[in-house]
């Protein structure tokens, strides 16, 4: 790929992505009075965002939907959820348990 085209592409992607992040700058510096009903909506954003990433990551590994028993991420996710519930979401042990399970399953049963 030509360097010129790549640089234009990267500049364009960077510019539009920065636009999507601009509300942080605007909202922090303007400090608008929060609307109470909107606050209820904003409170739900973390769980909605995390669920979106988890469901797509587990059910669509590599980008295509896989609900079959051969999708090893399903079993790794089960183990990870159990560890996360027991340890109340502690990051490092949950990350380690999930990733090690996925690697081991892949080595044992992967294609």
């Amino acid at each position: 790929m030509a360097t010129d085209r790549a640089l234009i592409l990267i500049a364009g992607m960077a510019a539009v992505t920065y636009l999507t992040r601009l509300p942080l700058w605007i909202l922090v510096s303007r400090r608008p009075a929060p609307h109470p009903r909107l606050e209820h909506v904003v409170e739900q954003i973390p769980i909605a965002a995390f669920a979106a990433i988890v469901f797509a990551g587990v059910l669509q590994p590599g980008g295509s939907t896989s609900l079959e028993a051969s999708n090893l991420y399903l079993y790794a996710a089960l183990v990870t959820v159990v560890v996360a519930v027991v340890l109340r979401g502690r990051l490092l042990p949950t990350l380690a348990a999930g990733t090690v399970t996925a690697v081991v399953l892949q080595l044992l049963f992967g294609p």
């Binding site: 990870t80 996360a84 519930v85």
Partner: protein, 238 residues
Amino acid sequence: MSARPGGAARSELSAGIVESLPLGLALIPIGLAFGYLAHAVGLSWWLAGLMSAVVYAGPSQFIAAGLLSTGAATPAIVATTFVANLRYSLFAASLAPHMRDAPRRWLPLLSHSVADGSYAVTIDHALARPERPRKDQYLLGSFVVSFVTWVGGTILGALAGGVVPATIAFGLAFATPAIFIAFLVPYVRDRIAIVVMLTAGIGTVAGNEYLPAGVGPLLAIVGASVLGGALSWRRTGR
């Protein structure tokens, strides 16, 4: 807490760094995978690293690399990137109320630091420790760790691409869902949370299946948040 000026800011900065180390660990295999993919679609190591540094938005970069391999035109890739990353506006709206004491000179850089992982770590911290000042420095600390591991992983992946065997790489890629399961689980405390989780999760999977790249997660997150917000508003009656 130190009495000297800047003590609160400094302790938030170091907390942000330390508490983001697991996130950094999760970002390395994803960075390696992106670097390898970017190299495969014709980006040299420094262009791949530059993209990770200035775009700094993993999922949209994977989409862009995928589109490049299909021969998509530059404007189409840029437009897709915009839509795929619009969820950062939601994250920004969710973080902003916790950053009211941020000095204005940090805001341009803080805006660039809004990404999935740092958002998750920082909103967790902000909700758990509302009394602490200078959450902007916590976000900045998280950004430093994420930026170094994401950009470093990308460059390594582009240079050393096939070093990690594909089977192990596929297992390591589970790091993303694994760490976001750790973020998600503590939030699932009541029925409204379960409704929001299922709506966002199933909506994203269905959207990815049937809608243009990047649109599904955005619609699902907005829809689930509005639904959850309406339910919670009805419950509290305020």
